[in-house]
Amino acid sequence: MSDKQTIMELLNKGGWAYDTGDVDFLADMFTEDGRFDLQIQKNDVIKFDGRANIRALYENSLKTQTDQRRHIVTNLFFQDETSDSITATSYLLLIAVADNKLSVLSTGVYTDKLVKQGKSWRIKHRFLYLDLPY
């Protein structure tokens, strides 16, 4: 499988992992020293440094949500490719379903800088810009 195909599946599975509450997978997507920066509209960027803090972000977010989330990941393209690093840009369409109602909560853009560690690609830096709060 090509590296791009592997990364596409990683990012797609990241959406699935959140929606199924698989925090282990979500945390393992990042390098040990990975960083997740989150900006909602024009507000300040919220930074989460290191895999442990990123795991806590996901755990805390999931606790506050009783609806079924669906992270629709689309529009993936790549830039700055080397043999062991790449930048991936993709879109997020965030849907919540509860009580027979479906709401499109937000859209956004992921900018992921990934590195190859052995045979695995992991996110070194994720920047998520959201058009609306989640």
Binding site: N75, F77, L93, T107, V109
Partner: protein, 133 residues
Amino acid sequence: MDRQTVVELLHQAGWAYDTRNVNWLVDLFLPDGQFDLRIQDGDVLSFRGQDRIRNLYVDALASQNDQRRHIITNVFFDSVTSTSMKVKSNVTLIAVTSSVLTVVSTGVYTDQLIKHEDRWRIKHRFEYLDRPF
């Protein structure tokens, strides 16, 4: 590999519009590229050449102060050779203001691409929209 490149190109086109990167967007077309747009049962509006395509995008962007998101899905290939491809994709067009997200329209792109000097570019784009944008 060529298919992957073309899929990424279509994704970039959505992203480039949404980030108002007109130079990037126009450069995805060949210099003599054509963009045909049909909204519902209206007449087809044709824009031939990079300059006219640029003007279309500049005018459209000037009329919009919301954040657009062109969600590209359902990409498949109708025909593929070593130097040309015909590919279809769906667009779900979203507009976001400071507090409201609206699904503005859905539609279908039919793109003919040519590989020229080792680079894929759009020779002809036909966009059909189910509602005005």
